[in-house]
């Protein structure tokens, strides 16, 4: 029985990390109606920046991720204003093309700058575990999980209590009405995209602490983010957290009770089942997928 509890705890912790990876993707999709296929590349870029700060300056990744977030916020803001803003009013096919192209450029750029070598941010503590009874709580994953919860709660408070947050939500709900109220949609979109890339950078640093990465991992992070965002639903900041934790649990339980090669099939089966019964996701708001852009 302790094996099952261990698998459950590990699945929840893994789910927290997945949620952290997906939260920015969900935010951009929910607010801007842009499915950002370059999201995974920003996650990997964050991992590389965190790794560079750790290996060159000796900066602990939990401190380094703040710098990483700041750098990626600026990069994301600029990318949105200068590039994605050109097509943000276009059909989703165009934004898909653009962000796919951006993903390829970023991945190739990282291949050139960092090479295809696998890297990991090796710390003295992340692989250690807190032992509770028979259960091991890996410290690195525990911290990543805590970070995912803190960031999600902080994001909810920013969205509901600050002027910037309310501008973002208002623009996401009805861009035309928001403009009539004097909100500068272009700036709001750029802030949203910057926030998402900053969160991707923080998630990437965490991935670097507990896993290995190289530029080729970008596609996997984008796919995971997509599935988690759809599972959790758009329009609710808790969506990614719920989706990520559910994904982690299903993978852990599926891997524990069934042959391990079934885990990916199970994750997509879960997605199909949720979409049948709750087309707007587990905690998503239905009007988000049906809204009209003007």
């Amino acid at each position: 029985m302790s094996g099952f509890f261990q698998a459950t705890i590990y699945g929840l912790l893994q789910g927290g990390l997945l949620a952290l990876v997906a939260v920015g993707f969900s935010l951009v999709w929910g607010v801007m109606n842009v499915v950002n296929l370059s999201h995974g590349a920003f996650v990997v870029l964050g991992a590389y920046l965190g790794w560079q700060l750790h290996s060159s300056l000796g900066l602990d990744p939990f401190l380094g991720m703040i710098l990483v977030a700041a750098v990626l916020f600026c990069l994301g803001y600029a990318v949105q204003r200068l590039l994605i803003n050109l097509v943000v009013n276009g059909p989703i096919f165009i934004t898909l093309l653009l962000t796919f192209g951006l993903e390829l450029l970023l991945v190739q750029g990282m291949n050139i700058v960092f090479t295809a070598n696998y890297q990991s941010i090796t710390t003295s503590y992340a692989g250690n575990a807190v032992i509770v009874g028979d259960i091991q709580l890996p410290l690195g994953r525990l911290l990543a999980f805590a970070l995912a919860v803190v960031i999600t709660v902080a994001l909810v408070r920013v969205m509901s209590r600050t002027r910037v947050g309310m501008s973002i939500m208002a623009t996401g709900m009805d861009r035309g009405a928001a403009r009539l109220m004097g909100i500068r949609a272009r700036h709001v979109y750029a802030v949203t995209f910057g926030l998402a890339t900053a969160l991707a950078g923080m998630a990437g640093t965490m991935v670097g602490v507990v896993d290995t990465f190289n530029p080729a991992a970008a596609g996997r992070f984008t796919l995971l983010s997509f599935v988690i965002a759809v599972l959790g639903g758009l329009g609710n900041m808790y969506g990614a957290l719920v989706g990520g934790m559910l994904m982690g649990l299903v993978q852990a339980w599926g891997g524990y009770f069934l042959p391990g090669t079934w885990v990916n099939a199970l994750a997509f089966l879960l997605l199909v089942v949720v979409l049948i019964f709750r087309p707007s996701g587990l905690v998503g708001k239905a009007f988000y997928s049906a809204r009209l852009e003007v």
């Binding site: 302790s2 094996g3 261990q6 698998a7 590990y10 699945g11 893994q14 590039l83 050109l86 097509v87 009013n89 276009g90 059909p91 165009i94 934004t95 093309l97 653009l98 796919f100 192209g101 951006l102 993903e103 390829l104 450029l105 991945v107 190739q108 291949n111 090479t115 295809a116 070598n117 696998y118 890297q119 990991s120 090796t122 692989g127 250690n128 575990a129 032992i131 091991q136 890996p138 690195g140 994953r141 507990v210 896993d211 290995t212 190289n214 530029p215 080729a216 991992a217 993978q251 852990a252 599926g254 891997g255 524990y256 042959p259 391990g260 090669t261 885990v263 990916n264 852009e293």
Partner: protein
């Protein structure tokens, strides 16, 4: 809402720029090359995608071979001496692209092909090679399945997949004190890894170990916790990973996180890859790995000299230790050069016959192929990471150091 034309144009231009960055599709000389005193070999290598790391090491091996052969004047073909010129294409780690590139080389008149990295790519290429009457020397596709289809035009310089993990089991049985009694194999679900896992299970049973049920996970997984949770209660004394680098690192990392402490780990492809030590740090110490080649290998040839000289050449040119991915690629290129010289022709059929009859020593191993095209007499080596360095511990006659057992880093 109608999309302004410039918006669509901006997107398409960005995509086109990105795709152009993915890989160059340069042209190659083919027969025209031979007429100009150049011998072209085609090589589809994985320079981007999930196998980019191993693909880059493979390209380095090919490149060093080209340098060494040309430094000796080139390839003697009858009364001519041709400069070796390897044409590279990036297959983006995808088997279907690797196969298409072989076709593309054929269209350019290049009939002699050096294999891509990995069994999946090589298996896809072998079918096209056979259809086009080309010839391929395979540097890194070890899956026995590639050689079980009756192909006559693919020759592999490396030991077959079934020997990878089995050699680790044999080394532990021979050298470990106290001898462990139970073994579990954790395997990725690709063809090569499954074949290697089967080999390990058979070897372990033959040697009297208690063998637990093999656990599988998706190829390329960075989370193998489900497999580890399943075996945790059984306390296996040896965990054998039939894996690539990402899964191999995950097994060691996540075992530590989950408090799984066997007497030792052994993994197939991961530990001899330089990134294994850089990503795991001290946790890599004690892990056993199987290697197609080590710098203590015996044998020498006119181009690369001994294994130690090969190691020095890789260090000088690429600024890192020579790995077996480098060595097997250089050996594949060398096999082609020796066969072409023996055939006295670059004609594909004659080179094929010369390869089939080849029996030559080299820095890598004896280059000799059986009727299926495998180098089945070549032994594997087993290495152990000791103080961050690879040390050959088995077979005894080429060992650089003694096995440290229990091997788990404390």
């Amino acid at each position: 809402m109608k999309t302004p034309r410039y918006l669509a144009t901006a997107s398409v231009v960005t995509l086109a720029l990105s795709l152009s960055a993915c890989g160059s599709k340069g042209d190659a000389g083919g027969d025209a090359g031979a007429a100009a005193g150049v011998l072209n070999l085609g090589a589809s290598v994985s320079l981007t995608g999930k196998l980019a790391r191993e693909g880059t090491l493979t390209q380095e091996g090919y490149q060093l071979c080209q340098d060494k052969v040309n430094a000796k004047g080139g390839v003697k073909v009858g009364d001519k001496t041709l400069k070796l010129d390897i044409k590279y294409q990036d297959d983006t780690s995808k088997p279907d692209t690797a196969a298409q590139l072989v076709d593309q080389f054929n269209d350019q008149g290049i009939k002699l092909i050096l294999g891509s990295y990995g069994s999946a790519n090589t298996e896809a290429q072998a079918a096209v090679i056979e259809r086009n009457n080309q010839v391929m020397v395979d540097s890194s596709g070890a899956d026995n399945n590639i050689f079980a289809k009756g192909y006559k035009r693919t020759f592999g310089v490396l030991s077959p997949a079934t020997e990878y993990a089995a050699s680790i089991v044999k080394a532990i049985a021979e050298l470990a004190t106290p001898k462990p009694t139970s073994v579990v194999v954790l395997s990725a679900d690709d063809g090569f890894s499954k074949r290697a896992a089967d080999g390990a299970v058979k070897a372990a049973k033959d040697l009297g170990f208690t063998v637990l049920e093999t656990q599988y996970f998706p190829n390329g997984a960075t989370d193998v916790s489900s497999a580890l949770n399943k075996i945790k209660g059984s306390n296996p004394q040896v965990i054998i990973g039939s894996v690539h680098l990402a899964e191999g690192v995950a097994i060691v990392k996540q075992s530590k996180e989950l408090g799984i402490k066997p007497q030792g780990f052994g993994e197939t492809v991961a530990p001899p890859t330089p990134d294994f030590v850089t990503t795991l740090g001290a946790d890599a110490n004690g892990v056993l790995g199987s290697s197609q080649w080590t710098k203590s290998a015996s044998g020498k040839d006119d181009y690369f000299g001994t294994a130690m000289q090969y190691e020095a050449d890789i260090q000088a040119k690429f600024k890192h230790e020579a790995g077996y991915h480098n060595a097997e690629a250089s050996a594949a290129c060398l096999a082609f050069v020796l066969a072409i010289q023996k055939a006295g022709s670059t004609e594909a059929d004659k080179v094929r016959d010369a390869l089939a009859a080849l029996d030559a020593p080299s820095f890598f191993a004896q280059l000799k192929f059986d009727a299926t095209g495998q180098n089945s007499t070549k032994p594997m080596s087993v290495i152990q990471i000791q103080n961050g360095k690879m040390v050959t511990v088995w077979p005894k006659d080429s060992a650089e150091g003694k096995l440290i057992w229990p091997g788990l880093a404390s």
